[in-house]
Subunit: 559 residues, 2 copies
């Protein structure tokens, strides 16, 4: 198997007739999926998503792929294929369109509808190309055939890309529920047909490559939801992702069955379910929907609320209910159902919400105690089917952290893909497919680009490092005013501290005075030198007295 070498250099020119594949996101992480395909000087992009920050990126709103690699080649882009409507696949589009607003956006009906709703909020009017499974369309030198795949959002697509360099199949995110709610199966037959034709390179979803076996059908959740709603004494509150149309469909069906009315709570839930209903992806039983005001007239046992907040997001309706900080007050007998995955990193937040809800008397049903969630990604058993049906010449695991990519590579090897034809790449690693052989040839920059407030890319690793120190230790600032010529102290030291847990600086003032006096006596009036002296003196005192290391900010003002 080829692994990216830590010291990969810039890639050479792409040989004529070769296809270049450059993942700018999604490999080595779960999120901000974006892959650039290049052939004959033209580019096709598959997906353009965002990554959500972890605690290592404090204060950051979103993380984007680094567009630097394509910034000088925006006019070469034939289009962006969006495989489905999740944020980690479409969330970066508004930011890429800032660079060139008329890049054609290619996707299924629901995917484009969700994306357009988002772009409207960014005041962008995109150029779109609606496609559907079974269809083949050309974008410059790229002939794209679209195939249906089943995922945790309707209308997801895989894309087969044909160029003179060969046939590439990118699965997008998928699983193989054999009894999907909408009857739209992952087109394994289509994969087999392409396999028979000869797939030169397979790019396949690795998220669940470490998980043995097969997914439980989404349908099985419906039965559990019905049971829970039937025995719920009062209100039922279901929290799930605002894009999970099929999950919400099952809540609607179960509510209908148990004679309950349904109220959607929260902007994204109301917006997305409106889109899904208008396009016919969500079937809403007549008269079942009510708004928040109408709930007051109904007893709890006739109500289901559907909201977001299943990840413990502090500002969500559910977190606020748990904290008694929402107009909907949890009462003894209410049932809350967390019908979603638990994204790693959110465990503590979700735990706090469960404790809060339980404290007010709610029963909390979650994937830990009932079948109220199934994953949207194919586990190992299903990935083996795809590998065996496609028999790819080369294999490149995508959409996963290192552990997932590496597990998926092992599966490929077990199905008979030769080691030398398996490419484990990371973000920025350049893979060329030339004469039927995929190979790592270099690397380009593919670092994190942070969105924080209005700015994109202004927050750097240095800022984040400062935030981590400030967040752990706080700071102490020492201001001294000196006469610019003599270096004599005219004012201060004035000391301010926040987050350092120090109330009084009386003990350090004499030390600072002494240091500054002797500096003045030595004729030191260089601001830089004085700053060092102040930093060292204050820092040493804090460390000796408190055993802590806040950031020390010496400020010397010359007048």
């Amino acid at each position: 198997m080829s692994h990216p070498h830590p010291e990969l250099g810039s890639p050479p020119a792409l040989p004529e007739g070769g296809l270049r594949i450059v993942p700018l996101g999604g490999l080595g992480e779960i999120g901000r999926n974006m892959t650039v395909f290049e052939f004959g000087g033209r580019l096709l992009i598959v997906d353009c998503g965002v990554l959500f920050p972890e605690s290592e990126q404090p204060g950051v709103d979103l993380i984007l792929p680094d567009f630097d690699y394509i910034r000088d080649r925006l006019d070469d882009i034939e289009g962006i294929v969006l495989t489905h409507g999740h944020e980690d696949h479409i969330g970066g589009v508004p930011y890429l369109l800032r660079e060139r607003p008329d890049i054609p956006l290619i996707g299924s009906r629901l995917t484009l509808a969700l994306l357009e709703a988002k772009l409207t909020e960014h005041r962008l009017k995109p150029t779109t190309v609606q496609v559907r499974e079974g269809e083949t369309r050309s974008f410059g030198p790229f002939s794209c055939e679209f195939l249906a795949v089943n995922h945790s959002i309707p209308d997801a697509l895989a894309v087969a890309i044909r160029t003179a360099a060969g046939l590439v199949l990118a699965t997008g995110d998928f699983k193989m529920d054999q009894l999907p709610l909408d009857g739209r199966l992952t087109d394994l037959g289509g994969f087999a047909r392409l396999g028979a034709e000869g797939i030169d390179l397979l790019l396949s979803d690795s998220t669940n490559a470490e998980v043995p076996g097969f997914v439980t059908s989404e349908r099985d959740i419906g039965i559990v939801l019905s049971d829970v709603l039937r025995i719920a004494q009062k209100r039922a509150i279901v929290a799930c992702f605002a894009s999970h149309v099929h999950r919400v469909q099952q809540v609607l069906d179960a509510a209908h069955e148990s004679g309950r009315k349904v109220c959607f709570v929260g902007r994204s839930m109301v917006r997305n379910m409106g889109v899904a209903r208008d396009l016919g992806y969500l079937r809403v039983p007549a008269g079942i929907l009510i708004d928040q005001k109408e709930m007051d007239d109904l007893p709890g046992e006739e109500i289901v609320l559907v909201c977001t907040g299943s990840q413990g997001e502090p500002m969500s309706a559910l977190s606020r209910m748990a904290n008694r900080d929402h107009q909907i007050r949890i009462e003894q007998g209410d049932t809350v159902i967390l019908a979603s995955s638990l994204i790693p990193g959110n465990e503590n937040a979700v735990n706090r919400v469960i404790n809060g809800l339980t404290r007010w008397g709610a029963r909390v049903v979650h994937k830990g105690n009932a079948l109220v969630h199934v994953s949207g990604h194919a586990p190992a058993g299903e990935l083996l089917y795809v590998l065996n049906m496609t028999r790819p010449g080369n294999f490149m695991p995508i959409h996963g952290e290192w552990r997932h990519l590496s597990a998926h590579a092992r599966l490929a090897a077990l199905t008979g893909v030769p080691d030398e034809n398996i490419v484990i790449a990371e973000d920025g690693v350049v893979v060329d497919l030339v004469d039927g052989q995929a190979k790592i040839v270099g690397a380009v920059r593919a670092g994190y680009v942070y969105v924080d407030g209005l700015s994109v890319g202004e927050i750097t690793e240095t800022s984040l490092k400062d935030r981590r120190i400030l967040g752990d230790e706080g700071f102490v600032s020492v201001v001294v005013v000196i006469d610019s010529s003599s270096g004599k102290v005219l004012g201060g030291p004035e000391i301010h501290a926040r987050g350092a847990g120090i109330d009084s600086f009386e003990a350090v003032i004499p030390r600072l005075d002494e240091v500054l006096e002797s500096a003045a006596a030595d004729g030191i009036n260089d601001v830089h030198q004085l700053r060092q002296l102040v930093r060292r003196t204050a820092g040493r005192w804090v460390n000796e007295s408190f055993g802590r290391r806040p950031m020390i900010i010496p400020v010397i003002v010359e007048v």
Copy 2:
């Protein structure tokens, strides 16, 4: 069931002949377990542990129970019973001994040995009373009978406390492995005997009350470890808690079986296993231990390393190996076994370690893909046995978050404890047992006391709030030097920012100049007013220009 009311007042005087129970930690959280029993004006404390901080408590080293409730009554304390040697039960002792160094510490041989090793580091020489299962000892008016319990550390005890107010059984942390490695079973027969005598109040471990069923025996892990070591191509590196003597015992046995030598890595692992070996709790096969230097002379397939770091702690040997920042370099073919639980909140850190190790070619075995960990706490099935064997007059779930306490209370109700005799308390809630009836009678302060560096209790909620803001947004400080009489600006504004992601402040300087000039023109020379003006002007500019809200620190120095 009685629930603590949010507006509980101070408790009334304890009626004569009554027993008062005040949990100062461990109820409503997992950690810093400490319960104070009062009878006839005397106090007995059970456990005195620490809680480890979450991301909500940035920069904090440890969280202690608030000793305020007992601070004026230190001389009334008859002793502290330590049920076992885990940090969340003994970690607070050094801090309590600072208040009164001669409080008798009561515990089993291993518990006291581990505690004494820790106290030596704090330069404390404690007064100890060694006890063992089957023994009854009186401490003032408290007659204590000790019973064996099985847990994830050897030599754990439950304690039955007899006073004229009745019989209380506190289980401590326990589970009921029926084939424990050391043959020391939880004394369910003893529990039954006490039950027959009549238990007035049962306090029982709630950690796993939500988990159905029974624990798998620790013994079953041994088989898996043997298999893993047998097929491991090169080195095996086992990470687990430094207190888990039985887990390490099984590693030693499996290593012995496969002809491998064992090297302990890390201070706490070396220290604890030394103690356990000296006292006969750890049986070390002759000649199996080697030190780090001796490893160089052996091929990888003859080596097992045992270290901590199973929670992804950034400074641990394991994390550093994952980052190639340790002299032990992970190589293709190495096997790493995370033989421990995953404490909620550590998921991302552990995930990073697994990705790092995988990247360098290691195979990582963890509880997600093999039976290399079993919990130390009794799940619901076992808790029901205890409830049914003890048939307590009153029941109070302990050691758990709200969700666990509430699940355990439900189990008690199912076994027939009347609702009015089930007390769900939280830290600080005062429960009196009078005439055989347990009741909540009030509450005392039981907030978090933070240890950060050398200081205890100096870091307040305000400091933590400041740290959270600084950690998310950074700060901007604006220093202005004014003439104290005229208010005229003599120097500045000088602006410093860290973590705010702002490079240049040129654009705001004219705005600040203008505001300060017009203030001087209006004769404003009040420092407080000028600070407000500067804060508002700078804050508004940052927010308008960047959509961010760093902390704004205006500093006005008068000369």
